[in-house]
């Protein structure tokens, strides 16, 4: 649900259609805060990875999107589910580790694409992944093309 000024939102994640809404919301929220094209693309890609994990591994859940105040505007995205949780977080973050048939790049890759990354998860108690990104202050010349 996006109001005209809508950065804040809580979106369900229960189908691959919901992943599309999540990506669209994060894209427009980041654009609204003045994020550059590369910043937007990185954040939307990270959100897509995390939302898919919520859906596939967590059995569905939600994403909360909230603006962050600071020296420059930022966004906080929180992905949560009541799924099986992650027993070994270090292993889950390792590039190439997957418990399914993925590439195992989603979690570790998403961490590289954002500024702040934290996981709260225990076996049987679900998983919450929170990321934050701030808009860069400098002009971004290489984004023209």
């Amino acid at each position: 649900m996006q109001t005209a000024g809508g950065v804040s939102a809580c979106l369900p994640i229960h189908s691959d259609m919901d992943l599309v809404w999540v990506r669209q919301h994060v894209r427009q929220a980041a654009a609204q805060l003045g994020f550059g094209l590369v910043e937007q693309t990185k954040l939307v890609t990270a959100a897509s990875e995390l939302a898919r994990n919520t859906l596939v591994h967590g059995g569905g859940g939600q994403m909360e999107c909230a603006p962050l105040e600071g020296r420059s505007p930022g966004l906080r995205l929180t992905f949560s589910d009541d799924g099986p949780g992650i027993a070994d977080l270090d292993q889950a973050l390792r590039d190439g580790y997957t418990s399914g048939d993925g590439l195992g790049m989603g979690l570790g890759g998403a961490r590289r694409l954002v500024h702040d990354f934290s996981v709260d998860s225990r076996p049987g108690a679900g998983t919450t992944v929170t990321v934050a990104v701030w808009k860069s202050g400098a002009p971004r010349p290489r984004e023209e093309r």
């Binding site: 259609m17 590369v38 693309t41 590039d95 570790g108």
Partner: protein, 154 residues
Amino acid sequence: MTGSFPVPHGGHVPVLKLGDVLLVTLQGDLHDGTAEQLQQDISQAVADHGVTGVVLDISGVEIVDSFLGRVLAEIAAKAGLLAAQTVVAGMRPAVAITLVELGLTLPGLRTALSTEDAMRLLSAEAEQAPQAAKGAQGAQTWVPRSGRTCRESP
């Protein structure tokens, strides 16, 4: 020569046959289901029409995550089993930068700056080596881990 006609497919992804090449235009935000369907449709089309090349135009794609990256790699692998070469064309710079950071290694996925470049690459190869190993010669292999995307020289 370039008698193009639509090839049946599911979803909203235009697939055209141009001579010996299948041109597939991916656009906007694909559902996972659409992407998976596309994978099957392309294999089917390659088999049915005996094309020797597949060009995946992703210039209209705003993000490639690990799911779509894997779909692209699998399309290329399946086409390869059917003796067709796949080239991914027109990846946006922001997408390429993001993929490198994501750490997505898609060995064997070849890239070209534009669909025109991709078509030229495929037809040059077809002339050069009609039956010989259609391997990596002349083509760009995209290996982001080495810190090189091959798609642009600064």
